[in-house]
């Protein structure tokens, strides 16, 4: 599958630069030890914008649940229909979710709750994004 190219902006540049280096980082408020994804301009718990940093994750997670997309308006994805679209919970904090097409898992054969490992996949313009694969 070829995802649309991504052009990082200031709020998320560290996330995408890390992805190009093969690392998964998530924004954290070090004042109250709160992870944010998507990244925020201020902490959604303590409200501070002075302690926002980026923390490397283990790249391990679990499948929260999924749907199978059969009808999709995005030109670059249409030839791959139907495809899985899962939400992944990070092991560090299951309240943090990331989307995944679960490369390697056939459509609608998704093991809900299964462990997954991050990989990094190039989008149409070469910018990499995190993807997730079922382990084992």
């Amino acid at each position: 599958m070829v995802k649309q190219g991504v052009v990082p902006d200031d709020l998320n540049r560290p996330f995408f630069e890390a992805a190009n280096d093969g690392r998964l980082v998530v924004q954290i408020c070090t004042a109250c030890d709160r992870l944010h994804f998507p990244p925020r301009v201020a902490c959604d718990r303590c409200g501070s914008s002075d302690f926002l940093e980026w923390k490397q994750m283990s790249g391990k997670g679990k499948i929260y649940n999924y749907g199978v997309v059969y009808d999709c308006p995005v030109a670059t994805l249409k030839e791959d229909l139907p495809f899985n679209l899962a939400a992944i919970m990070l092991d560090e904090d299951p309240g943090i979710l990331m989307y995944s097409h679960l490369p390697g898992t056939p459509a609608d054969e998704v093991p809900v709750g299964a462990a997954v490992q991050v990989i990094f996949e190039a989008t149409a313009n070469g910018q990499k994004v995190p993807e997730w694969q079922v382990i084992g």
């Binding site: 902006d9 929260y64 999924y66 939400a87 994004v129």
Partner: protein
């Protein structure tokens, strides 16, 4: 006159506010609906502006009010079902100039301003209060109810119009683009990941099925019941244009959009407008229709922790919404004769009614409840209006139905298994919406 968007202070969006200060002192006394159409055919008389004028005039006449007694107007300026007027397409000036235009040629065609309405309804000579509400009729009702209660208007029109243009929305623009900004890619991320509009709800529904051991087939009786109720709603799209029942077989064999959401789990966008006339409980006594009193309005302002709301977040929010609804009205779940919570997407109606604890329901109970008698003839009616599923995407059938049932003029849709005395309607989203409690009596 400049018209402002309603301030957040007009909404009751937190718990612990106590009984609504205007409980039973505001009433709805007039209803007006335009005809429906699947799409705009480009003629001035079928534009969203024309439909809105029609609905407003019907509501005024229905209430038996002299137009010059109308002093307030609350409306939703956005009228799109999803598509905005394409930038590269010329605006049809013959349709625009068939009305008294404002500075914006899209007014009356692809949006609505209070100014446009007033300019094109010369009989409204005394409107002194105008206000905008965001999104849908559910918000406009809340704002108008609060405005009348606060004394900002005595006879207040409430309006929502919808336009639906040719073509499928979301297929152009950013969906056709080769690149997206990083912030968009992460959240909402719909185009990077290819999630259709219903995906967030489908994901919550998938988790609901996993958590409670339910499945998509169990939605079929609800879908069938909703279409049946909608076909008994002469103002609705399906009743007017496609009077076909929806059988479980039709529903279950429909194509997937984002499994577990299929085509019928998504509502159909249409052209339509509706208007209501709200007044004070005192004035309502002299009007043509039996007053329907508003006992409370409550709003939900949930936020997701991460990229999309989880089932667990939805369940917490709808439960809080239920508590707010009851607290301000001074009632309990047992006082509800029926419910008309939102259904567009079909797969979140159960979140709304479980949050209400309707008929004692707890989270995970609704799909089993759907297998029992949920008809308008039974003791436990579900979505008596038929909602968006039964009437097309208006997000207002549920409000009209609450009023008509309580007034005893719901026609073939009249509830016979319960006496319609107190009902709740509202939406749209389980994580964000506006809700109203309607009553046959002010106390």
């Amino acid at each position: 006159m400049t018209t402002q968007m309603a301030p957040e202070s007009m909404y009751r969006s937190t718990e612990g506010l106590g009984i609504w200060e205007h409980r039973g002192k505001v009433a709805s006394v007039g209803i007006g609906h335009s005809p429906t159409a699947r799409r705009w055919d480009g003629k001035p008389e079928t534009s969203v502006g024309a439909l809105s004028i029609l609905a407003l005039r019907k509501a005024i006449a229905d209430a038996g009010v002299n137009p010059e007694e109308v002093d307030g107007l609350v409306l939703v300026p956005v009228t799109t079902t999803g598509a905005y007027w394409p930038a590269d397409q010329p605006v049809p000036m013959d349709a625009v100039n068939a009305f008294n235009p404002t500075d914006d040629p899209l007014d009356g065609i692809g949006q609505l301003s209070a100014e446009w309405i007033i300019k094109n309804m010369p009989e409204l000579t005394n409107v002194k209060f105008t206000m905008y509400a965001p999104g849908c009729m559910s918000a406009a009702i809340v704002v108008a109810a609060q405005a009348v209660g606060d004394g900002l208007a005595s006879n207040c029109l409430v309006l929502k119009g919808w336009h639906n243009l040719e073509g499928r929305y979301n297929h152009g623009g950013i969906s056709a683009s080769d690149e997206v900004p990083g912030s968009f890619a992460i959240n909402p991320g719909r185009t990077l990941w290819g999630a259709p509009g219903c995906f967030g709800t489908a994901l919550q529904f998938a988790q609901y099925c996993t958590k409670y051991g339910k499945n998509h087939d169990m939605m079929a009786p609800f879908m069938q019941n909703s279409r049946r109720n909608g076909l008994l709603f002469p103002e609705g799209y399906w009743a007017q244009h496609r009077p076909e029942q929806l059988t479980p077989e039709d529903y279950l064999s429909s194509r997937w959009i984002a499994k577990p959401a299929n085509l019928f789990d998504n509502d159909i966008p249409i052209m339509v407008a509706a208007a209501y006339l709200f007044t004070t409980a005192d004035r309502a006594q002299d009007m043509a229709q039996k007053p329907v009193y508003i006992l409370n309005h409550a709003s939900s302002r949930g936020t997701a922790r991460s990229i999309t709301p989880t089932l667990e977040e939805v369940e917490a929010e709808t439960a809080a919404t239920g508590r707010k609804i009851y607290e301000g009205a001074g009632i309990t779940a047992e006082d509800l004769s029926f419910e008309n919570m939102y259904d567009g997407f079909a797969q979140f109606h159960q979140f709304h009614i479980e949050g209400l604890r309707y008929r004692g329901m707890q989270p995970g109970d609704a799909l089993d409840f759907y297998q029992t008698d949920i008809s308008i003839e039974g003791p436990n009616p579900i979505l008596a209006s038929g909602g968006n599923i039964g009437g097309g995407r208006s997000r207002f059938w549920m409000h009209t139905d609450c009023m008509q049932q309580i007034q005893g003029r719901a026609g073939a849709r009249a509830l016979t298994g319960v006496k319609p005395e107190i009902a709740v309607s509202g939406g749209p989203m389980p994580m964000g919406g506006n809700f109203t409690v309607w009553s046959a009596t002010p106390d």
